[in-house]
Symmetry: C2
Subunit: 234 residues, 2 copies
């Protein structure tokens, strides 16, 4: 008999398991590592993370609450589909939140907020330069999220962050379609937005945010319209 595994590894703090599983699954879903429809196996996850099914299930309950996974009672649970049919309603909500949060930022931001926002913009520009798609998505979301924070309305930032997360999946498809490249234009638009926020120019903030949002929406819709045509051609 070989030496017994006295399992010195389970150096994991009590209570940290749920969060760990939640965070990882969430990222894998939003980055399309787990594409929509992928089956989620509790026991498999339990083995993978070396823990029992109980904490796994609690993490899954959270994800289901956010609509990222679908759970059929007594049957399988899988990654939720992207709702392409109601995509335009998503974009309507996104554009509105872009406008509202940017306006509020122009109104209520403080000097230290601008520092944070500019820092995110630097990272975003670097990601575009490096053509790192996942980094672009993450830093872009962080940039706008920071603007929302500067607007100081937790309800808006909450919804906005949820929309950005939801959009991460569509955005991932979008970036992929352009070989993970992104035009410099978005970087410049971000700079303009920072400028009007710094100037406390509420009206112009609204206008630029709207243009920026509609710009992105337009690009993505063009992509999916193209894909629709390709699908039909099959």
């Amino acid at each position: 008999m070989t030496d017994i595994d006295t399992s010195p590894i389970p150096e994991r703090k009590r209570g940290s398991g749920v969060k760990m599983v939640y965070d990882l699954l969430r990222d894998e879903i939003l980055d399309l590592v787990l594409p929509p429809g992928s089956p989620i196996d509790e026991v498999q996850l339990a083995e993978r993370f070396k823990m029992s099914r109980t904490p796994i299930r609690e993490a899954l309950v959270q994800l289901a609450g956010e609509g990222l996974i679908d759970t059929l009672p007594n049957r399988s649970t899988m990654v939720a589909n992207i709702d392409f049919l109601n995509m335009h309603t998503f974009f309507d909500a996104l554009v509105l939140m872009y406008r509202v949060t940017t306006k509020l930022a122009a109104q209520y931001h403080r000097p230290e907020d601008l520092k944070v926002i500019r820092a995110h913009q630097v990272e975003f520009a670097a990601a575009v330069q490096a053509q790192d798609a996942l980094a672009m998505i993450a830093t872009n979301a962080a940039f706008h999220s920071a603007i929302a924070e500067a607007g100081r309305n937790p309800y808006f930032t909450g919804l906005f962050n949820r929309l950005l997360d939801e959009g991460r999946r569509m955005l991932r498809l979008y970036y992929q379609s352009y070989d993970d490249r992104l035009p410099q234009r978005f970087v410049e638009e971000h700079d303009d937005i920072i400028a009007v926020i710094a100037n406390h120019d509420v009206e112009e903030a609204d206008r630029l945010a709207r243009l920026h949002a509609e710009q992105i929406v337009h690009q993505i819709q063009k992509l999916f319209a193209r894909e629709d045509r390709l699908d039909m051609a099959l």
Copy 2:
């Protein structure tokens, strides 16, 4: 020894326990039966519902996800406080969603939507007549929720319903302060809103929704300002 309890009662379908606990706790929290700060005891709930702690905990995880309860790691969990400090941000969000959903309803509603909306309005009027505070809150929320549904944007309806739920607790306090009575004026404003929606009058829908929302917000803020003064007087 008396006859053994062969427990013929647990006639509860597999998988229904979580939802049952979730729904009940949620209602008790939102209706202030469980006031903010109330401790939530897992074993007590387990005994009360005659089930193990596992499904109870899953329900609690969901409630925590919605921010209705706060969970301190390894320590107690309790009903979340109402955030009076950031109340104005809540009202900003509420007013915006009132406007957006009502506008969209005026744009996109179909005849059958109006039927549903009118039905809720009848119930609301009845609740006001009967001076049934909880019914007023519920039917008022159902009324506006139906309008949001008619606007056909699931993201907006989602946020809006969350706000209405959150507001249920403040509204409950508000109604209590008026001996659970409510002026007839709100009923009339609802009728006006129905009319402009039916007319597809988007601009007017926006205006009325805004007035209606600000009306309510103003009333509630007046109440809390009064309470603040009372608190200070102590």
